[in-house]
């Protein structure tokens, strides 16, 4: 390409903005630079959820308070945040927890994943077609076959939440995790109840995964899909990217206390969004038919660099993908790529949740102790723990000294995925950008980090690794 055609291409690309993105947790938007054919050249997916400031709130609090605060960052995977934060505290103070406490945490973690996958099913179903028809799926319709699917999803969520409730005291913001173990062990009766529920869940999970995989595969076999009345060509490599994968455990996590941790703090680096995102631009492509309510009006100024509320974490100097596909690629030799691979990997984790839960229940001794005998006060050393949340690796870093938290940082799954997904958007028709994004099961609010801007939008402070 000589210089003149290059310049022409730059001039010809248009900017379209989808704001807010829908059917996922949190508040985010897509700013896309597209070519004449509507194919994305550069995609920026950014969080515009207001900053929570949890990491600042944590400083000076006691280690048992911080996981409870960290959990409040979001209600979709509060369990992952609680467990990761608790274990980061334990890693910092170097406290080993009893095996039965760990088993209870495993169960809690899997219960959370079970209900989260089911929830994600509801959110992505409207993108897909009933196989063999031109009818898009409305998960809330009273008509079959969708009705029984919706009921199955509800039951799976109920099962996940009830098991979480029993093992962790509460299914949203679990109350029973403590620094040093768990508040209390469960009764034999409770163990049986969880087992029964897991067994029931397993049957439903098989059915649900089969259904979803069929629906996802039939969608990706199509040549064209309909988006708000627009006929859009569906590329076979939708959502492909060449970034790496990061997963620390097939379902649970790792921590700096382990002899061979599967995550390395030294390979991680936090960078600022303006190193990655596009600068100020003006929207010059508008599509009123785009659901729901059309895209942003022409002439609107956008500035992803300044508007993005996240940091961009790098692993080995690159953004990486975290989530179900990363776990399956790392631990189970899964090889499907793109949005299709992501959604299928997530469905494949359904049954694993129930199987792992049953294994953990087999291991659980209900009369065993669940709290460490000795809980050190902390000497100020850095400790970290990761937890494989439903949507990816959730790493928490903490420093505790004399039972006070001096430093706390959360590297949550969707933070990892923001930059990776932005890469994956390239080459996709802009109308399908949200489909690609939803493949990551985004949970945006917890991904929002601490950045302080003054009146001139100039950065005055940012939370970086110290």
């Amino acid at each position: 390409m000589n210089n003149s055609t290059l310049n022409e291409a730059i001039i010809l690309s248009k900017v379209v903005e989808i704001s807010p993105t829908t059917r996922h947790e949190g508040h985010s938007k897509l700013v896309l630079k597209v070519n004449d054919a509507g194919i994305i050249e550069t995609g920026n997916w950014c969080s515009i959820t207001p900053v929570r400031g949890v990491e600042k709130l944590a400083v000076g609090k006691t280690p048992e308070q911080v996981p409870k605060i960290a959990s409040r960052v979001c209600g979709i995977c509060p369990i992952a945040h609680t467990i990761a934060a608790t274990e980061a505290m334990e890693a910092s103070i170097k406290c080993e927890i009893p095996k039965d406490a760990l088993m209870l945490r495993h169960i809690l973690q899997l219960a959370n994943r079970l209900h989260s996958i089911a929830l994600h099913d509801i959110l992505i179903l409207p993108d897909f077609y009933i196989p063999g028809t031109e009818t898009k799926i409305n998960p809330f319709t009273p008509e079959e076959p969708v009705r029984s699917v919706a009921k199955r999803i509800q039951r799976l969520r109920e099962i996940g939440q009830t098991i979480g409730q029993i093992s962790g005291g509460e299914c949203i913001h679990p109350s029973n995790t403590r620094v040093g173990g768990m508040y209390r062990n469960v009764s034999e009766q409770a163990k049986h109840k969880m087992y029964d529920l897991a067994k029931e869940g397993l049957v439903l999970a098989h059915q649900q995964a089969d259904f979803m995989i069929a629906v996802i595969r039939s969608y990706h076999k199509r040549d064209f899909v309909d988006v708000g009345g627009m006929k859009v060509a569906l590329p076979k490599d939708l959502g492909y990217h060449n970034q790496g994968y990061l997963a620390t455990h097939a379902f649970y996590g790792t921590s700096s206390q382990e002899e061979h941790p599967t995550w390395d703090l030294n390979r991680f680096k936090d960078t600022r969004p303006w190193d990655w995102y596009m600068g100020e631009m003006t929207v010059d492509l508008e599509e009123p038919r785009y659901p729901v309510g059309g895209t942003t009006k022409i002439g609107t100024k956008v500035n992803p660099q300044m508007e993005a509320c996240t940091s961009i974490p790098l692993y080995d100097g690159q953004p990486v993908e975290v989530g179900p596909r990363a776990r399956l690629v790392t631990f189970k030799k899964f090889d499907e790529k793109g949005t299709r691979g992501q959604n299928i990997a997530r469905e494949m984790e359904y049954q694993d949740c129930c199987y792992e839960m049953m294994d953990s229940l087999d291991e659980l001794n209900t009369s065993g102790k669940v709290l460490a005998d000795y809980i050190p006060q902390g000497d100020g050393s850095i400790g970290w723990a990761t937890n494989e949340a439903p949507r990816g690796c959730d790493a928490h870093i903490a420093r505790v000294k004399n039972w006070k938290v001096q430093y706390f940082n959360m590297l949550v799954p969707t933070t990892w995925n923001f930059a990776t997904c932005s890469k994956a958007l390239e080459g996709a028709p802009w109308q399908l950008a949200e489909v690609v994004m939803r493949g990551y099961d985004p949970c945006v609010s917890c991904a929002t980090h601490m950045i302080v801007l003054d009146e001139d939008n100039k950065l005055v402070a940012q939370k970086l690794i110290q």
Binding site: T162, Q165, I166, S167, G169, E170, C171, N176, Y183, R184, N185, V186, S187, Q189, A190, K191, H192, K193, M194, T366, S367
Partner: protein, 308 residues
Amino acid sequence: MGAELGKYKTCVSARSTDKEILKHAQDGGIVTSLFGFALDEGIIDGAIVAATKEFAHKHPEKAMMDNSNMEFHEPWRPIPVVITTKADLLAAAGTKYNLSPNVSLIKEATRSFGLDKVGIVGTPCQMQAIRKGQLYPIGLRDVGASIALALGIFCMENFPYQSILQLVEDHAAMKMEAVKKMEIGKGKFWVYGKRGQVVQLPLKVTHKYEQPGCHVCLDYVANLGDISTGSVGSPDGWSTVFVRSKIGDSVWAKAMAAGCFETQPIEKVKPGLEMVSKLANEKITKNKATVESRKTFGVGKGLRIPYI
């Protein structure tokens, strides 16, 4: 007789037909028998009752893990526990005459205890808390629907543990360990010793030891229980039973059909419902006065009053 007895479908004087239960029970063994029956029939799969500290110490997995010092010997200190068998139920039978925070276990019962159908026994205020929790389940997600049977007990007022200690050890001059049974009846506080001695204290003496919070309560007969029961109104060894709700009615009918209780019509027994009414009115009148006086208590601001 008016609103002081609350709404009820039937009222009888009853006692358990199970001799073993009567041996352990305070009066007619109504709560113990009902829970025993409900456990057998699968109406409940566990119940929250007030056991002793010794019981909780022996079975820590059945009690709330809180900060109470389990090593510290405190006879007659009630500890709420979740029981799932009849044997445990018998071990927890009998009135302890001091505060047992049974409601504190209601959530945990549906969580780590894994109960689907919970039975709970409590004083009128605890019944109010249970019903409020069912209406406004803040912090009690999924708990309301799990409450399968709530049994209320008559209550004039309650005592903190220190008060009971004072009454028994100082006024009645008896060691707490040596006490077999405590009772309030016939206008007196009775303490029965294991060696056979009986001490009676006039209620005038006990009044100052009451929990002040009880003095704003306008409910004597547990108006919000599914079934409420107490000794007042019935002869010794019998209990007065109010069957109040649909659930209560169905459980009571089943228990009667199964022969758990022998009953007498409340009209036929002495002192009968008039006595219950009299005491209920006494409590309400007395406590209404406290409520009124609290309205203007303090400088420019009243104390919090739950009933106005």
